[in-house]
Every structure is written in C-alpha cells, then in structure tokens.
Amino acid sequence: MPNHRVSNLPYAFVALGVLCLLIGSYLGLFVAPPEHYMGDVQRIMYVHVPTAWNAMLAMTFAFAAAVMFLFTNDWKWDARMEAAIEVGVMLAFLLCCQGAIWAKPTWGVWWDWDPRLTTTAVLLFAFAGILALRRFVDDPVKRGTWSAVATVIAYADVPIVYYSVRWWNSLHQMQSSPATVSSAFHLPLRLNAFGVLFLMTGFIMLRARIASLRLAEEIAPPPADALGELA
C-alpha cells in the first residue's frame, strides 16, 4: 500500500500556487483600480473570494472521497478525505477571518447572520467535529467508516442550512465572480483563485501522503524481531 515512488508534484503545485498568489496579490494591491464605493477595503476581495471558492471545493472533494471510501473501502480515499477535511477546515477558518475583516468597515459589524457566513461557520464546526472524531477513534477501520459517514451527513446539511438561514435573514452582497465585477478586477481575481487552488491541491496531496504513511504504520504487522523477543 505505501507508495514508494515519492513524486515532487505536490511541491510543484505549492510553488506554482505561491507564484500565482504573489503576482495576483501584487496586481490586486497596486495595479487594479480601487472600488468606487468601498475604496481600498474592497481589495480584500482578491483573497476572500478565491478562499471561498476553494474552501467549498475542498469540502466537496472531502465528500466525494468519503463516498468513494464507503463504496470501495480503499485506504487511499480515507487518506484523501482526512487531508481534504483538514485543508477545508483551515480555508473555512481563514474565510471567516477575512470576512470579519471586510465586514467591519463596510457593514459596520464583525459578524452578520447572513446565509453564506452562517453556512460557512456551521460547516467549519461540523468538519472540525469530524476531525475531533478521528482523533478519538483508535481502530483505523472504524475511524475511516465513521468519519466518512459523518462527512456525508454533514455535507448533505449544507443546502438545508443555507436555505434555512436565507429565509431567516440576509445582507450579503451578491457573490463576486469575474461575471459580476468590472474587467479591471478580473486578472488578479483569476490569478489568486488559481493560486489558492494550486496551493490547496499541493497541501491536500502532501497531507494525504502523511495520512497514508501513518495508516501504513498503524496497520503494519509488528517487526519480526519484536515477535522473536516475545517468543
């Protein structure tokens, strides 16, 4: 099961991601024009929106990995699920922090009970709970199955939470995407989106490698000499 051919692909992704983020953020901070109403504050969009897209992507990948693990019982999906949940939780946390930084000067509050904000927070807590569950289960088979089941259940909750909070309360501006923002903002937004995407892919691959190695160690038979000492 352990993969002996250690590829450098994840490092290439990380390097490419950092490069894209550097160029994209430079363009976003110094080249792109300030937004008409919000001024320079709006420049946080160049990291906020890419983080949002990729956080959702990481969670979706975790859900896909959970479904694959439940159907195939292949350990590599367990490792990928663990990696994607962890990276997704990190991105969702960053998303909440960036959102609060953007919200204070524009909405006047750090936090608002808006559907997307609240859904992200609920998702963050739900997936952090699954990470905690994984820490407390020692048997790898149970850990894999249970966390996959919990991931499927938590992911199915996302649309329900979103619509219930939307009926309850709403204030967020329309989702920003290249279609809804002026063309001068396109290039830095796209570059940063791919930057975060590459960085995330690299991180998930590296983290999945760690998870597989740890799992291989857990389920490996004890070394022969240890058995010899017992006999």
């Binding site: 439940l70 609240t118 609920v122 998702l123 807590f125 739900a126 709970g129 699954i130 905690a132 569950l133 407390f136 289960v137 088979v141 149970k142 199955t145 249970w146 089941v149 919990a150 499927v152 259940i153 938590a154 199915a156 909750d157 329900i160 939470v161 619509y163 219930s164 909070v165 009926w167 309850w168």
Partner: protein, 218 residues
C-alpha cells in the same frame, strides 16, 4: 423493526427514572435561561420559543448518549447484529423510540415554559406538530451519532460536537415556528418553517437509515 421498537420502549419504561431526571434537567435549564434575560416579562415571552428548544436540545444529548448504554454492556450490540434482523430495522426502532422520548419530553417542558415565561398559546395542535417534527429531526441524526460515540472514549463531549452544527436548521425552523405559534402569525409564515422541518426529517431519516449498517457492522 416493530420488535426492535417494542424492546426500546420497554427498556425506556423500565428506566423511567432516567427520563424524569432528564425532564428535571430541561426544566432547570429553562429556569436558568430566564436569569440570562432578567425579570423582563415581555422579553422572556419573546424568547420563550428559543429557550424551549435550547432546553430540549441540551436534554436530548443526555437522552441520546444514554440510548446505546444497554447495547454497550456485555457487547449486546454484537448479539443484536447476529439475530436475523437487518441493522436498518434496529436503527429505525431505536430512532423512533428516541424520537418518542424527545417528543414526550418536549410536551412536558411546554407547561414549564408557559408558567415561567407567560408564553401561553391557543395553537396547541400546531405546537404539538412542531414538537413532533422537531423531536424526530433531532433523533434521526442523533441516534446515528450516538451509535458511533457510545463506542469511544470522550463520548459525552463528541456527541454534541458532531450533532449541534448539524441540527442548526431544525433549531432555526422549530424556534421560528414555535415563536410564531406563541406570538401570533399574521403573515402565515409558520407553514414554510414546518415544511423545512418535514424536508429535514425526510432527508435524514432516509440517509441515516442507509448509513447505519456501515456504522455498526465495521
């Protein structure tokens, strides 16, 4: 499934002291919430629905985490899996029994809420329907998670950690609907919240039934 349900209900009847203790816990929680607001009758009445559901939610973690107690002793769960009944029947029996227990608890907490917060209502059938749907909504994922967490250490901590984020829609919809039943519903919004509860129940009663076999068999 009927046999599994009978077994659960019988067990719950035999351990009714525990249900009474959970009720006292819920009533105490209702009492404590009013101290957070202070003796302001209007505010208490306005927040009564939220307090009722928070009290029920907190009590539900006690009920749910205890619900697999009997199975964990003497590894009775393995024994149950050996009998020629599908794990799905076991799940639905357990989940329905838990739902009934939560609904009874919810109904028992309503008079406490009315007395403490002066939150009387004439729409008792609506309130009953909300409590049935809300209790069922807590029980469906709660029973599945209880099956997992009862087998590990730190179960008292992990069950709420996993369950609370998940049941945010149930809490929102039940609180809104109850609040409308108490304070009046001029815009007829209550129906939409009830539909949301129905949808949540539909999704999780089917999804958790499908996934339960994997949780107990592996």
């Amino acid at each position: 499934m009927i046999a599994a349900l009978r077994k659960e209900l019988l067990l719950q009847w035999r351990t009714r002291a525990q249900a009474v203790a959970v009720f006292v816990f819920g009533a105490t929680a209702l009492l404590l919430f009013s101290f957070a607001i202070g003796p302001n009758a209007a505010a208490l009445r306005e927040y009564a629905a939220g307090f009722l559901w928070l009290a029920l939610l907190l009590s539900s973690t006690l009920t749910l985490s205890e619900s697999f107690h009997a199975e964990m002793e003497n590894s009775a769960l393995e024994g149950l899996l050996l009998i020629p009944a599908s794990p799905r029947a076991l799940y639905y029996g357990k989940a329905v029994a838990n739902a009934i227990q939560l609904i009874v608890l919810g109904i028992a907490l309503v008079p406490v809420m009315i007395v403490l917060y002066d939150a009387g209502t004439m729409r008792l059938p609506t309130l009953l329907l909300i409590i049935i749907l809300g209790g069922a909504g807590l029980s469906a994922p709660g029973t599945l998670y209880a099956a997992m967490t009862s087998q590990i250490r730190a179960k008292q901590m992990l069950l709420p950690l996993l369950l609370f984020p998940l049941i945010v829609p149930v809490l929102l919809a039940a609180v809104k609907a109850t609040s409308l039943a108490i304070l009046g519903d001029p815009m007829e919004q209550g129906r939409a919240w009830l539909l949301l509860l129905v949808a949540f129940n539909g999704i999780y009663w089917s999804l958790c039934g499908l996934l339960f076999a994997r949780v107990v068999e592996d």
